[in-house]
Amino acid sequence: MEISMNVNGDDVTREVEPRTLLVHFIRDHLGLTGTHWGCDTSNCGTCVVWVDNEPVKSCTTLAAMTGGHEVRTVEGMEVDGVLDPVQEGFIQFHGLQCGFCTPGMMLTARALLDRNPNPTDAEIREAISGQICRCTGYATIVRSIQWAAAKEQETPVEVSAS
């Protein structure tokens, strides 16, 4: 079947099998390998992308179900060479070691800050509770997100939604 959707601002159309999962569509059909494919059971959250501005687990979503919708992947976080403050935060506070969970973590963090610009530590931990990091122990991820929140509070950063 033919499906069309908007990915990071670009309209794409591809021929796929109906059973193609969104994570494989993004990685294998579009070549956007920033989205990682992890546990395959909607537990680990490294495959998180946005569908219509909400984080979803792309290993448990059919590409066909996303037809006609807007998808944003980690590649869509940087705009015109400027990193999203969440990305900067992960650099500043070492929010990653191996980097495998990072794309999902950052997209979930971005969605959190869009809804709640000044989250508490507990709210950040709740927001990323569907994602697993086996390196950092989460403390540096929480600090990275806090850094991004603080930066945006001082100097508003224009962040594209799609």
């Binding site: 109906p18 494989h24 059971t41 687990k57 066909a64 037809g67």
Partner: protein, 291 residues
Amino acid sequence: MQVPAPFEYERATSVDHAIALMERLGGEARLVAGGHSLLPMMKLRLATPEYLIDINDLSTELGYIRIENGEVRIGAMTRHRELLESDDLAAVLPIFRDAEKVIADPVVRNRGTLGGSLCQADPSEDLSAVCDAVGALCVIRTKSGERVVSMHDFHRGPYETAVADGEMLTEVRIPIRPGSGSAYHKVERRAGDWAVASAGAAVTMDGATIADGRVGLCAVGPNLTNVEPISAALRGQTPSEELYATVGQIAADNASPATDTRGTAAYKTHLAKELTIRSLRKAVARATGQD
């Protein structure tokens, strides 16, 4: 790589269209809403539908929480996140927010739906026990009209509901009773996991006595979305710690959990008792304005 077996994909644009598609495609067609129960089963080849009918375009038609005329009406496509975040729902039926806080994780809650959860009828799924405890009615749309069944009759057992081929759950209706309270308690190994055990309770008070009380359990055996002997034991009684202990023991006696990676049968039986006590205590406190 886990990928579903091949199937054909259709997208429904209305409830009537979904019913017509099921009629045309027959018994090998399945509806998919959020997909967070069905797709994992398809990836494991535990479910192999020939046709998948995507009803996500119905999220406007069937995504709502309406509180009017003494009842709550919730559309089947209402997502977990909407159930969690609705202050109006939490005000009249706090059991929903209690449960939704601990259903899966925030990202999964963005997709999963009330109707999908109830139709999956997993014995470890929380909302069947919640809906049975509060005496919900389920509206099932058929080709010729609709029928309404109680949640207790809707949930027939593990992975089995009153929804027949060619039919679909469209709405859940819950009566709002004055002097009522409800609560849900769950123990899980880690954030977002299935329950080791959980219990939901709802009570309606008549002055100082319990006019009606219901407790539903999950993950400790089949067909426990309402433990009927508990309702009999609560009726007409004055709330007390002794009463809660008695009722907790009834919950434990009716539980038949299996030992697995989430815990031993003995531990889960203990949880059935303790979580029943806690949720009843909380439901009564809420009903009597002491929470």
